[in-house]
């Protein structure tokens, strides 16, 4: 049964997200073949349309201020490094760099790519913030159309 065949890995490049990558690699033994790596930026100095694809829409990149171009370039490098790491494990990899609301974009890519599972790290946030605003992870769990693996903290 291809329950884990295509996995979306969402990363914010934090140590917790890096740790969540170990789970993605391990899932290869349970049938994972393809990994969709997603990073969403929501902190550029100019406003872009929600869902803008910073990897594929090259003209968007050109209109960014220099400081944002440098920032996006550094993110692309980090995504490429993750791609190489996963390809070493013989997993096929596709990268996404999106702009907009983080949880919404993760779910959108998951739907578009028909992934079987979303893997992400979850940082503990203040209780009040979570009740009022919801966290990225709870919003993803609520709106995703597939199972979600939430990695909470690193094993000691």
């Amino acid at each position: 049964m291809p329950l884990f065949e295509k996995v979306l890995y969402s990363t914010d490049f934090s140590p917790l997200a890096e740790y969540a990558l170990d789970y993605v690699k391990k899932l290869k033994e349970a049938g994972a073949k393809e990994v969709i790596v997603v990073h969403v930026v929501d902190d550029l100095s100019i406003e872009l349309p929600d869902g803008a694809d910073l990897l594929r829409e090259k003209e968007l990149f050109k209109i960014l201020p220099e400081v944002d171009q440098e920032y996006v370039t550094s993110i692309v490098e980090r995504l490429e490094a993750i791609k190489q790491e996963l390809e070493k494990e013989e997993l096929s990899v596709k990268l996404y760099l999106k702009y907009g609301n983080i949880s919404r974009q993760i779910v959108k890519v998951a739907d578009k790519e028909s992934v079987k599972l979303i893997v992400m790290g979850a940082h503990g946030k203040g209780l009040l913030t979570e009740i009022i605003l919801g966290s990225v992870s709870t919003d993803v769990i609520r709106n995703a159309n597939c199972p979600v693996l939430i990695v909470k903290k690193m094993e000691e």
Binding site: M1, L3, F4, D22, Y23, K26, L27, K28, E29, A30, G31, A122, G124, L127, E130, S137, T138, I141, R142, A144, N145, C146, P147, V148, L149, I150, V151, K152, K153
Partner: protein
């Protein structure tokens, strides 16, 4: 050994049973043990001493303080859990059953800590993740320090209750 020991909180409803195939599959990624945990939530159990009611004898002894009907219902639950446990054993995964009274999120997180659980697998209904009902699931996520696999059932909460 990221998936070696899995905690599977189960209420025997369709949504929680839908998580089962994921655990079977995780055997290939190293799952060797599954701990089935049935939590008796306060509205069900009233005043029972804390403990793990994981044998027919222990459940039978509850008749001293609880209604016979409730205790017999709990025994039926225990037998159904044994059936689920057998399915895991047949797949080569060692299965343990626990029936513990308490608040869902607290029982799950303390069980996971005490038993060195590597992953918690939760089957939840779509309805329980609606804007108004997500509180309980958030409580479980917040209370747990362990990774969680949330398997969302397509089963609608209200239709589940109409059964």
């Amino acid at each position: 050994m990221l998936f070696r020991k899995i905690l599977y909180p189960i209420d025997l409803e369709k949504a929680s049973l839908e998580a089962k195939p994921y655990i079977f599959k995780l055997k290939d990624a190293g799952c060797m043990e599954v701990h089935l945990l049935y939590v008796m939530v306060p509205s069900e159990w009233g005043l029972i001493p804390k403990g793990n009611y994981n044998s027919e004898e222990m459940i039978e002894a509850l008749k001293a303080s609880m209604s016979e009907g409730y205790v017999d219902g709990l025994k039926r639950t225990f037998r159904k859990l044994q059936e689920v446990a057998r399915e895991f054993e047949e797949e080569g995964i060692k299965a343990f059953i626990s029936i513990i009274p308490g608040k869902l999120s607290e029982v799950i997180s303390s069980y996971a800590e005490e038993n060195d659980i590597k992953l918690v697998v939760l089957g939840v209904s779509a309805g329980s993740l609606s804007f108004f009902k997500i509180g309980e699931i958030v409580d479980i996520i917040k209370a747990s320090t362990k990774p969680l696999l949330i398997v969302k059932s397509k089963v609608n909460y209200s239709s589940e209750n109409e059964k």
